[in-house]
Amino acid sequence: MSRLHAFHGGIHPPEHKAESNGARIVQVPLPPQLVVALNQHIGHGAKPVVAAGDRVAKGQMIGRAEGRVSAAVHAPTSGRVLAVEPRVVAHPSGLAELCVVIEPDGEERWIERQRFDWRNADGPAVLDHLRDLGVVGLGGAVFPSHLKLAGARTLDTLVINGAECEPYITCDDRLMRERADEIGAGIAIVRQLMNARQVKVGIEDNKPEAIEAMRLACGGQDIEVVVVPTLYPSGGAKQLTRLLTGREVPAGVRATDLGVQCFNVGTVQALYRALEHGEPLLSRIVTLTGAVARPGNVEALLGTPLSHLMAFAGVAADVTGHVYGGPMMGFVLPSLEAGLTKSGNCIIARNAELFPPAPPEMPCIRCGTCAEACPAELQPMDLYWFARARQFGRAQERHLFDCIECGACAYVCPSNIRLVDYFRYAKSEIWAAEKSRDAATLARRRHEARQARQERDKRERAERLAARTTPRPAPPPLPEQVTPQEAPAAPAAPTDDDKQARIAAAMARAAARRAGQAGKGEGGDGA
């Protein structure tokens, strides 16, 4: 039995897990339409490879991974592609992003699945295969799993995250109770791929059935199921790693470099389905809870409209909104039209009783309670101070980016300050500034390169001219490499009248064509 290493801070909010963890996982009936977002993971969105009107089979790739940090997206069921267009996605902004809209035909016709012999394939091939099957972290951060597996050749400790510390959410709990054998098989796969010396599964002590099931499933293997005390946010990757191994992952260091890596139980199960059955990630387990008639866990196809899910759970009349994710780290959904994404572990229907309106904010009294609760050992009151004053540089100096936005500080704040909102605001301002700075640097570099080229062209032309005008003394054949750069300068050269006439003719032609277009568009004559 290994020793636990407590992390700093943490809170224990009311758990609200009993509402939804009693019943078995049920399948949600097929919705009339699936809205599958192409960007369901961290990094680049997938590139669509189907078009409106195409027939797709279940498991067929509809979006190819684009760029290094990306993962593929698949048709969750067979049917017809109605559109590939921007639709509202499950994002706090409520903005639209490219989605593939599929009308299911109800046949559940699978694409032909190829057996992939991952045991005898070499490392990169396995990782590419996982990328093409769209496996990403299902704990909430949706980081492409193949990149996590690609780390070190050997690993000291593989941490499997079954802590599920956030209130209301019980999808991992139910998954461990009902599909522990698949998780066990998945752990064996990850262990082999990462060459891990030991495996530790961390589960909070409020899930005794899940602990029992995981112990049974991991019985034969050398896997330690560690019971950790219920303390939010023990399910944070860094916090759980600290709990189970005593190792702190410093800012900017990859956990793999320290010989530790952490995978969520759901991800491990998806990895098993992908490698042993060739199944892409098509569905996930979602907790539907809060003010609903039938709280519980459902297995829903990705892209299932959230309104369909909530209708399935039976929404009460007094619902004032929906939270996507947990009550601590989730966000209020601007619309239920969006489709379910790989990150959607929980949807909570809010009402005034469960989520009373936040009391008004009062001034920070610098009591330091937030610093005591912060699991990242930051000084939230200082960060708040700087974020509020828009002094982002100072906030960054105080390690704003180590904040995991767990919300523990805001939970304990006696002045009811929504600290995390300020941190999110500061972070997105810093990211935006960085982006525009990068764009400016690029533009400056290109502008300078262009100026240098123009200078050189001018100099070389002058040299050539000098060589031609100076009498006899043999023309130096030096600037030989000039010819390719000469092309853009051509329009200014000799046959000017001729060229002018041709440009004028082309302008007339274009004007006529545009007039024609305008005429079609507006019904008037555009001359």
Partner: protein
């Protein structure tokens, strides 16, 4: 006597240190004005010339030489003026309307049906963001376009439009939290 000695020592020290400083001033002279670099780093590098100078760096030089004011850069906007004011220790002033207005970021789009391949826009683009060759249609590399609009005027067939870059979930920002106030009756 001792007063004289002290005076001599002080005078001698002053001469010596003066000589060292004078030498250092010549030997370690900074050629470029670092202030120009700092101002240039704040400017958005659109190279749009709306400030009245042929590019961002010339404008930065003009600010350093007190020839231009800090409120002549529309793409930099209010934020840019604020940063310049902070850097130079001056008062913030609103954007000079004579130079233009702050617009949301846009990129140029060439209507390829109308393009006659005259290369005039390619020559106008300050960041080489347009590709194409004579008598072949041109196109804009959207990721490199700074939205300076310099390509629009030279186009003989008016086939270039500015398309706004809409907000996407990736570019969306969390807003400044609005604190609810307590109602006092």
């Amino acid at each position: 006597m001792s007063v004289l000695l002290a005076l001599c020592v002080m005078a001698g020290l002053a001469l010596l240190l003066g000589a060292v400083l004078g030498f250092a001033a010549i030997r370690f002279r900074v050629e470029d004005d670092p202030l120009v670099d700092k101002i240039d780093a704040i400017l958005p590098q659109t190279q749009c010339a709306q400030c009245g100078y042929p590019g961002c760096r010339p404008y930065a030089t003009a600010i350093t030489n007190d020839e231009a004011d800090i409120n002549q850069c529309p793409p930099g906007g209010e934020d840019g003026i604020r940063q310049l004011a902070d850097l130079l220790g001056r008062e913030f002033k609103p954007l000079n309307a004579a130079n233009g207005v702050e617009k949301p970021k846009r990129v140029a789009v060439i209507d390829e049906q109308l393009c006659i391949g005259c290369t005039l826009c390619i020559q106008a683009c300050p960041v080489d963001a347009i590709v194409g060759a004579a008598k072949h249609m041109h196109t804009v590399i959207a990721s490199e376009c700074t939205g300076c609009e310099l390509c629009i005027a030279p186009c003989p067939v008016d086939c270039i439009d500015m398309a706004p870059l809409g907000d996407t979930p990736a570019s969306w920002k969390w807003r400044y939290p609005v604190a609810m106030l307590k109602v006092v009756s």
